[in-house]
Subunit: 373 residues, 2 copies
């Protein structure tokens, strides 16, 4: 098959880009995926057997609602909540549907844990029997997963929330209203919907929506035209500061650009919200604590002999947990198991992905290693 | 002349490094300088006429006094104050002493303003008549200069404080005690001296010295063996936070690494000082304000139509100010003159070096330009 056909690139360009794909396998099925964005292709494009699975596009962001929204939308836009979990695409790929569908992470890796959960949480047999060419794009949310740790009051372990349904090969979206209906027909849970607005209405409504989400510790919103050909995101201070707190707890493992961008967002939001001196100082104090106290906690833990890392809990049948850990080890991750228990036939494991740079550098600086900068 | 001879590199290696030198001229005298660090050579090495002027070495830093000091010093060390100004080397270079000495900035550029001031502030005729091969290395401090703006209570306009005297070509230092005496003999002002300590004594004394400097809003200390073959620096929270406040007022013009390093220093200091929760939160709040409020000020100023940049004031004879501005323009800097007055035959000019990235990016984001990240 000519993999380039559904993709927005020529055969020649695709041949050039092919070298950036990495080869992996899942249960004996080999596939290639594109782990980073390249000029013409989405990150996470997958080539597997006879199928292309398009990557999920990067959604641009505005730092200022009042100017950014009317600048990027000429027509009506839907506002949906942006949830804080990990981006997953669920799609059938082979002709043989015996071991289908698969769940792909953002970078296009088939995750055995997520694949298991997607099949458990979604009516995949019915949906894909009717719509074999579509893929369900959504956020896996909840505390028990191997990638993120944001809590939602209505999710005990893990849940899937669809925010887009696309043609798996071309990436063409089902329009917002049709997608909301389609998912409702199959009882597939979706991200919360805040309505459809003109750009001017959105400018008026969004600050209130964002403030309410912020007060609930939630992440933000994604705006999209009803045809989903334009998207734009905006995040809460709770999300910015939560990200900063996490990143600064592992300061040498997170990119400095990651941190810098979130600081910039806070400043633009404070200006757009037209905060008075008291509110601005309060935001500054919370920001300072998110930065400093997470670093000092980490330094003190390492000083006390502990190892720091990204801590996660997963709950699944024993063989799925085994498969997940084998998957991580094959990717070179160093895991430390903290607790490993059985509950109702499932394994519940809390583990840490060791973050080498923070452990090594903090230890070295504590030991008096000089800094040449 | 073989320029490589006094330098710690072979003729072959020097020939390779030569391409990184840039050529400039000062009052018709052409010279080459090395604007960045290269593996074997100091940043700021100058080749002029028959003379090499060595660059000033980068001084390594410790993040933790208790372990860093004994690890890097086996013998006695002198503690001197690190002043917050700009690093200058003053040296004779030609055989014709009519237009000597010259003052070189850190990257090896001859600055006409600094050269004028060095000749005014220092007994250069006497000193270089007796010691033609030495260079005076020090900090230009005070509010009236074109590079930095830190205030010192005892400096109205500008002053020079020596912290090292070196062979201009080989960079070999006059030992600390001899240098203090030598400068005293010529009434050349030096950086404040805090004493000579064993490493163990230094670990005990330094926290108190640093805290006192911090309370006075001063920058920090440089420790050095008496022979000056080992140096180590450590800075106050006042300096870290002052730097952050300044950098975040021009967030897109300062490197993210610059900001990150100062955040890390604050965290290690808070841990080493063993701060209780109240003290740590206070440090965090000050840090948050240094970051957020300087950004919001800048965004609001640009939103109000102003241009931001690095603001400086200089005071010198009119022809020196002309020469300085011509020098900056030849380097591609965009200057905006704010005030330009005469006082006692001198010109006093307040001007801004325009920082393009911050002005452009903040304006664009205020206008709703999307961020793809």
């Amino acid at each position: 098959m000519d993999y380039h056909e559904p993709l927005p690139v020529s055969a020649e360009r695709f041949a050039e880009l092919r070298e950036y794909f990495e080869t992996r396998s899942f249960r004996g099925r080999e596939y290639e995926h594109l782990p980073d964005y390249r000029s013409d292709l989405n990150r996470g494009v997958v080539l597997i057997e006879d199928t292309v699975v398009d990557g999920f596009p990067k959604i641009p962001r505005t730092l200022v609602i009042e100017t950014g929204v009317p600048r990027h939308f000429e027509e009506e836009l839907a506002v949906e909540e942006k949830l804080d979990g990990f981006n997953v695409r669920v799609a059938r790929v082979g002709d043989d549907s015996a071991d289908e569908p698969l769940a792909f992470t953002r970078s296009g890796i088939v995750c055995p844990f997520t694949t298991y959960q997607a099949r458990e949480l979604l009516p995949v047999a019915e949906f894909f029997a009717d719509h074999p060419d579509l893929m369900l794009c959504g956020e896996m949310v909840g505390p028990e997963n191997p990638y993120t740790d944001h809590e939602y009051a209505d999710v005990d372990s893990l849940d899937f929330r669809v925010f887009d349904v696309r043609d798996r090969e071309t990436g063409g979206s089902v329009p917002v209203r049709e997608r909301r209906d389609l998912c409702a027909d199959y009882d597939i849970p979706q991200v919360p919907f805040h309505g459809v607005f003109t750009p001017e209405e959105a400018v008026e409504k969004l600050p209130g929506i964002v403030e309410e989400l912020d007060a609930g510790g939630r992440e933000g919103v994604v705006m999209k035209t009803l045809s989903v050909d334009q998207q734009l995101k905006y995040t809460t201070s709770a999300a910015n500061q939560g990200n900063l707190e996490y990143a600064f707890s592992l300061p040498f493992d997170y990119g400095q650009a990651f941190m810098f961008r979130r600081l910039i967002r806070e400043a633009f939001q404070s200006v757009e919200w037209d905060e008075d001196e008291r509110a601005r100082r309060e935001r500054a104090h919370e920001l300072g604590e998110a930065i400093l106290c997470s670093m000092t906690d980490t330094i003190e833990r390492i000083d006390g002999g502990a190892t720091v890392g990204e801590r996660h809990t997963v709950r699944a049948p024993p063989e799925i947990v085994d498969e997940l850990f084998e998957h991580f080890r094959s990717m070179g991750l160093q895991l430390e198991i903290e607790t490993d228990e059985r509950e109702a036939g499932e394994r519940v494991v809390t583990f840490t992905k060791k973050t080498q740079a923070t452990n090594d550098k903090v230890r070295a600086y504590l030991d008096g290693q000089i800094v040449r900068e």
